[in-house]
């Protein structure tokens, strides 16, 4: 085997994980951010702080606690087992849960800021043009929060790609199943296979640069046309 021969399975897995997680992050994060931006409930402050909390735990430690929660005897794992019959730890679904939890603040906070910056005005204008709440959310709030959305996607995606502490912990580093690129690079470094690590890192950087570049470019295009 060539010393630099590279297995591409982790690349696809990473891409799949990052895309799935980003999608789920948006689906969960957007309503949370919207609620946080508009509520004046006394729950707002605690919820805001709780969303940011996963950040302060070292990923491996967060992973450790997740591992306990996801275990067949743990709270989440039991529910999941009852529903799907499978186990969460060491599965792709588990990875997604971990990534989502860990990257949530990066998605919620920029979105919340963007929603707050919109203010009441455009929503009132839209209401007067006949748009109901859901309609307003999709046709006014989201487009006006576009910059925040881009940041949320950027941070969420990049962070999921780079994340490895949580993923390593709850994924079990199973090649082809839970061994994502970040772990694979990490393994090369640990195993002193610096050459392969360099190649993979460079590839990851180039690829991510490309993705981020495209996201920012799209954003610019939209900006030029719209806001």
């Amino acid at each position: 085997m060539n010393a630099l021969a590279i297995d591409f399975t982790p690349v696809w897995l990473t891409l799949r994980l990052a895309l799935t997680s980003t999608a789920i992050l948006l689906i969960i994060g957007t309503p949370v951010a919207w609620w946080l931006a508009r509520t004046s409930s006394f729950c707002k402050l605690p919820v805001e702080s709780i969303v940011a909390l996963p950040l302060v735990l070292p990923p491996t430690v967060l992973g450790f606690y997740l591992l306990i929660a996801l275990a067949p005897t743990g709270p989440l794992g039991r529910v999941w087992h009852a529903i799907s019959g499978g186990s969460l730890a060491f599965s792709f679904s588990g990875l997604v849960i971990g990534s989502v939890l860990y990257s949530l603040p990066f998605v919620v906070q920029p979105l919340q800021n963007a929603f707050e910056a919109i203010g009441e005005r455009p929503l009132k204008v839209a209401a007067m043009l006949g748009a109901g709440p859901v309609d307003r959310f999709f046709t006014v709030a989201l487009p006006l929060a576009r910059r925040g959305l881009v940041t949320a996607i950027t941070l969420g995606f990049a962070h999921t790609v780079g994340e490895f502490g949580v993923v390593l912990m709850i994924g079990g580093n199973i090649p082809g199943k839970t061994q994502v690129l970040s772990i694979s690079i990490y393994d090369h470094v640990e195993a002193l296979e610096y050459g392969r690590a360099h190649v993979l890192s460079a590839g990851l950087l180039a690829f991510s640069f490309l993705v981020l570049f495209v996201v920012h470019l799209t954003n610019r295009r939209l900006q030029a046309r719209g806001l």
Binding site: F64, L67, L70, S87, A89, M169, G172, N173, V189
Partner: protein
Amino acid sequence: PIGRHSTNSGSVVDVAVAADFIHTLQDLGTAFASAGGGHIVISAGSTGKLYAQIHAGAPYDVLLAADVSTPRLLVKQGLGVAASRFTYARGRIALWSRSPRRVDNKGLVLRNGKFRHLAIANPKTAPYGAAAREVLQHLGLWQTLRTRIVRGDDIGQTFQFAASGNAGLAFVALAQLKDPAFPASGSYWIVPQKLYAPIDQQAVLLERARNNAAAIAFVKFLHSHRARTIIRRYGYNVD
């Protein structure tokens, strides 16, 4: 390399240690100090990480690696003192489950037991993982169990996989089970030495401490009977 930290603090020894040996080292440190040796400061990490750090000039005086090849490499690269390199412990692995009576004393559970996941340390980066793979290959189970094997980053994580109940079985270091401070419950099978190549863990005095009396004294201490007793107590074999 200049370490601001320990150049002239003669009685302090910075020891970099592979994670599995940390508790043993703590005990050794106490013993060393009480023997009038000096104070040791422990930095733990995986052997691979420690190598990269030493390469980048980390202010460590002694490395207690989890393998043989890293100290050998350091010596070859002129970062370790050749004469000081020696095997301070020989690790042993055990198959462990947190449920009592799950693991029999022949390891038959691997062949016919019902378990979803078997945790081993990453064979690529952790010597204990390599040993576990060897055992499985020896038993002819490596291929059959392939899909059920989950790999921890190191034996610490491997232990957590099993301890949290996510993996039914795990190949862990015997030292982890024997740890007097945290005696493990459950059942285990100490894998016979003939099933895997010895996990020799070597120590080496690092070049920057070539003339550090306290460090030299500590390496010497590791050879002592007192030290060996302590090491043995944690389930390691010592020559």
